[in-house]
Subunit: 122 residues, 2 copies
């Protein structure tokens, strides 16, 4: 079986948003750095979120009302926690479901033997 340490950049494109929303769904509130570490841990270093991608997206999600923030002081440092709003919660559920459905479709294309029942359920 194919083993890789870290995925090539192109492959990860477009997956950041569902990842973040899923983690926020599960953890109530998280701060940026925590998200990067959680993803590293969950994926055994295969996916490493860059800060240049993460923070602008978090800010955008806030501007869209998907998440709200609260700052918290840890010693002299300030952490910014993100949590889903009510709207954000349903948006998150939608997007994650769409992504899972999409992956089933991709699996059907890429590995037909592993998705024998594709399309039978309507």
């Amino acid at each position: 079986m194919y083993i890789c340490l870290m995925y090539s950049k192109e492959i990860i494109k477009g997956t950041l948003k569902p990842i973040i929303l899923k983690l926020l769904q599960e953890h109530n509130r998280m701060y940026g750095y925590e998200i990067t570490q959680k993803v590293k841990e969950l994926t055994k270093d295969k996916i490493q979120i860059t800060e240049g991608a993460l923070y602008p997206l978090l800010h955008k999600l806030e501007a869209e009302g998907i998440v709200t923030t609260e700052k918290e002081s840890i010693g002299k440092r300030v952490r910014k926690y993100y949590k889903l709003t009510e709207t954000g919660n349903s948006k998150a559920a939608e997007l994650i479901d769409e992504f899972i459905d999409f992956m089933a479709t991709m699996k059907h294309i890429l590995d037909p033997n592993l998705s024998p029942g594709y399309g039978t359920a309507q």
Copy 2:
């Protein structure tokens, strides 16, 4: 369960290359328009490849030596068939394996219940 007719654009990013390479792996040779139709058919219209994305990528794959082309006249129209080179074949296998592995990782993040054995096999 969530049903959607067509995936949002962002979600599909980065998936075009593995899709094309997989189809070429399976069909020996295909022409551009044929690829768009095959993908539409396989995914029940959920993924529709735009020509503006397809043709530049095919040209790039040719420039990189992943595919070769042969033109064929159908009446007064000319079709351009693409097929994998030997190098292209192994590159395709690599990329597809990486993508499948990546999807397993994503599934593990997004839907932990459906990937209980994640990471047990080494």
